[in-house]
Symmetry: C2
Subunit: 339 residues, 2 copies
């Protein structure tokens, strides 16, 4: 909280009004509903605005009108480029509609998310977009009480808070697992991010297991691994899985850039991919297409999740849409040379 040096240049609406020879109310109208003001007055007001360098005070405006044009967004991490695509999609839509974006990271912690959401509600955001679907009880209560519309993004949750725009992590993992089986791989391993604080990881693991069950294959704990995020981590996962007694013939890296790290490690070890082991990834980062070999992966509508989330939120705010809604945007398998 700190000083707002308005004083010297801070022209207020009444200064504009004086300069234009009208009342403050007319200035307000000329700015927000130009059609309700005569053309001459409108021109005088516009000239006066430029003359005095007026910058409207939305704090005052929002307080008075009880509306806000700020949307709060919480992502698990600001550094992960996967979320960046979604953020970009959100921002694109908000900009066009004249909304502002307030952003915070939850660090994958529901408590940190709660703090961020509380701060957003204090700023009286018009709506929230949350990239995690796991919330504390206090968070849910707070949001309900505030009556603010919410879009959740990370996966398709069992009990949506309000609106949802996502793809299904479970279905995506299941589809890729089946795909690998169809290609003839018999021992498919799964590497996920730590599932403890990450519902998406759990969903992917569930999808993987479901596919195995459908295929009538046994679960083999030696073929499942949790690894932290990062290229190095992917290389290590590869090493660990391959040095076992019955190594996998295919590895599905269900997260982040793990798969890329593994492919690069295969290069170093001189292992043929998919000759020695096939590798599949979860997210279509462009690096995967450029690796040697290019990596089979899923195309997830990251950017569209952003645009549709923002649009859905704004529709609700504009009263164009009413109830909760769940939008599953699906996914697509991109078969490349690595499998």
């Amino acid at each position: 909280m700190h000083d707002l040096p308005d004083p010297p240049g801070g022209a207020r609406m009444r200064d504009v009004a004086r300069a234009a020879g009208v009342s403050a109310m007319t200035v307000s109208r000329a700015l927000r509903e130009p059609s309700r003001v005569s053309p001459e007055v409108r021109a005088r007001v516009e000239a006066a605005v430029r003359e005095v360098g007026y910058v409207p005070n939305r704090l005052a405006g929002s307080l008075s009108s009880r509306r806000s044009d700020v949307v709060g967004l919480v992502v698990p991490s600001l550094e992960n480029s996967l979320f960046a695509a979604t953020v970009k999609g959100i921002s694109d839509v908000l900009r066009r509609e004249g909304f502002q974006l307030m952003i915070a990271d939850s660090l994958y912690s529901p408590e940190a998310e709660e703090a961020a959401i509380r701060a957003f509600l204090e700023q009286r955001v018009a709506g929230l977009i949350l990239h995690d679907t796991l919330h504390t009880e206090a968070t849910v209560r707070m949001i309900r009480r505030a009556g603010v519309p919410v879009v959740e993004n990370g996966t398709v949750p069992a009990e949506p808070l309000d609106m949802v725009v996502s793809y299904s992590n479970r279905e995506a993992a299941k589809a890729m697992t089946r795909h690998l089986a169809r290609l003839g791989y018999r021992r498919v391993a799964l590497v996920t991010l730590p599932s403890a604080a990450n519902a998406r990881s759990r969903d992917r693991r569930d999808g993987f297991l479901e596919a195995l069950a459908e295929l009538g294959r046994p679960q083999d704990p030696r073929l499942m691994l949790e690894m932290p995020s990062g290229l190095v981590s992917g290389a290590e996962a590869l090493a660990r899985l391959m040095e076992g007694a019955e190594p996998p013939d295919a590895i599905f890296f269900a997260g982040d850039v793990l798969a890329a790290g593994a492919v690069l490690e295969c290069q170093r070890r001189g292992w043929a991919v998919p000759g020695k082991v096939a590798i599949a990834a979860f997210d279509n980062v462009d690096l995967l297409a450029q690796l040697n070999p290019p990596v089979t992966t899923l195309r997830l509508p990251r950017h569209e999740i952003g645009t549709r989330s923002a649009r859905m939120l704004l529709d609700r705010l504009a009263g164009r849409q009413s109830g909760p809604a769940v939008l599953d945007l699906g996914f697509e398998i991109i078969q490349r040379a690595s499998t």
Copy 2:
């Protein structure tokens, strides 16, 4: 701009006051300066806050106090992970100090930046952090008039608006060019991002040329190329440079992931790096360390730029620091196997 559904759950300060049996003013104090209120009253107020589910309205608070706890940040792109590190640094500091982050992308356009800044000033942000140093005249006027503190980040500008936290793109490019010369490379090529709307690219080119001049080497236009961002683009740059009559023996990719794209292309073509051609990059993205061979690059203090920028801004807001200041955080060469 849309409806703020305060009504049902929207407890105001006076509701808390009533529940606690004190005046609204006392509630305000209990919340902001607990030490100035007796322990019993403080406890009653805290209980009342929980009881009625009170969420302070910072719009009203800021309007009244003429302070704000929101910082506006403009980055060129929300998708580029290079900026993500800086954003993260900023966010980390702001969170700890109880500030909020409003973010927008300029798309590398000064006009879009102007629009974003105007919107931020309308929201009465306490300060601005700008990742570009190229601004329209109107932008400069607006910021000056608003009297809001600003930190610029992208490079060390000729005429700082206010405060600056950065490394010098020119010095960094110069250092890497000298480094390559020292390693014995005779024909060093430079690939930059399009310099038209990107002051950083120009700075890097200037640094490169300065180094050549110091080394007494001629400029060779066939050894300079501008390419858009991306891995594919790096591969193409490599191809173009190498198919010339007198190809370079080293290429300095001064931006983004171009270098990575080039190394991957070399793998595909079976070209030894650095046997056939040496490759150096500009930014220390972790991919570069994992490629085969690992790529020589610069370590730039991206995260620290964020933390220091935020801290400098908050120091100014707290009156702990006064004048403009330029902080050059330097860089470091990481020599790896690719050169």
